[in-house]
Subunit: 302 residues, 2 copies
Amino acid sequence: MTETQIKGVFCAATTPVNADGAVQHGLFTDHCRALLDEGCHGIAMLGTTGEANNFSIAERQSLLDAALGAGIRGDQLLPGTSSCNIPETIALTKHAVDKGVRACVMLPPFYYKGVSDEGLFRFYASVIEGVADDRLRIILYHIPPVSQIPLSHDLIERLIAAFPDIVVGIKDSFGDLEHMSELVRRFPGFSVLAGADPLMLPLLQAGGAGCITATSNLRADALRVVFDNWKDDTQADLVKAAQDRIVAWRELSNSFVQLPTIKSMVARVRGDDSWMSIRPPLVPVSDAQRETIWAEMARLGQ
Amino acid sequence: MTETQIKGVFCAATTPVNADGAVQHGLFTDHCRALLDEGCHGIAMLGTTGEANNFSIAERQSLLDAALGAGIRGDQLLPGTSSCNIPETIALTKHAVDKGVRACVMLPPFYYKGVSDEGLFRFYASVIEGVADDRLRIILYHIPPVSQIPLSHDLIERLIAAFPDIVVGIKDSFGDLEHMSELVRRFPGFSVLAGADPLMLPLLQAGGAGCITATSNLRADALRVVFDNWKDDTQADLVKAAQDRIVAWRELSNSFVQLPTIKSMVARVRGDDSWMSIRPPLVPVSDAQRETIWAEMARLGQ
């Protein structure tokens, strides 16, 4: 499993839509290219921050095609390919694997609550068997505050044992360092990626593989400084300054509802107010909130 | 709004799949016809009990077509047509309206948690404007234990005010009679339908419109007796016996995980063990559980 280990700073890229909700492909691919220039190793498109579940299957496939068409390489992409049901998860995943993506990030099915590990195992196994492609790599996605479906350590162990070359990592957005460290200890060679930017550094120190995060839409540069230098004692000051910057930007992104707040921040960084738009059930930040956010960004030196 | 009021006993019909997970159209339409014979006014197909979110958009459209093809009338059908995203909810709803269904049962989008009433209003408004068909009737679906997205009274009021001929009712599966009664008091002419079988009787007494329930897969006869006779004091014993039967069967259906338990009960009633199958993340009841359930069914006189 080690040779396929996925390491680095991956951005949970946000997805631009226009005021009518239509996906803005050009704005998205420009953003992805900028993120790679700013230091991201790759783009985890169409995750929670990317509003995947606000888009249809066809829209999601089309956005992946647009990224590839704009010159982003498949090995730079970790798209979210899950839906609540098996056939659509297979369709999204097959499409992504056929396009040569590095790995697919996969939520558990999230409508029914309190489902068993056996049921979740069968879901993932059905998807893997339905995709039936040796190139498939899956990053499990543990985000109980949103999905309400935790992935237990026992389930993860069973999936790795059954599909060791396919189930290669996890995005852990539970927000608890000890939970991630336990994954590192229990599953050597498995890529544990932090879902919260400030936790990437302590996770790397505990043997983790990097991050898939929202603040990297804004501070990929600082995350990359931490990722590249955390082992080097002579760079301790540089790492500390970058980590402080990550923490401050992450805090700012949580000032109001996170996704529209991030979009308002990207709007300012990219100089395009159409980034403010978002699909229901999410709503943009208010004008007053945007002014507060932008003033704080200026204070933080952007 | 009163003239379009939807009243009656509607079955949240369960959906048969084979051991490979493929939808069994013939078994489903036979079940629907039997439910209508047993007393249901209509079939609320593809709801929570019907595993809607375990099926693709294409599978859901195809199952509705199968029901109509088998002679179930559109005005007897209340399909669930929601998904987490607007374009697919529009596609499912347009298809159902074009086929002449009585109404569409619609969950709120259920991935993002803690969303605002404003965001939920925009979601439903976008769907209604996207479908753009005067024939559309919507039954809102309030099931916070599963969706984790409650529909507030203020949101419902705003939707009724904006779309009085379209937003005509609610399936309330919160399980609290007072919550349903408050809906009846606050929104005259709005169809409040109980999501739990034992609550249909007290809801009718409070001015409610009937039910959309799971136990009607098994005891439509008793629900219909209550619905037809609850106002008639001379039939008090008959109504009480039927209500007791509803309560007992409902309790039995909750012995283990509800959906597979109901499927095991339908398997026995319809004499076809293939009804036991269910799609992941749900799993069938064990053989031992099935024996327990079937023994209790025999004791209850089935």
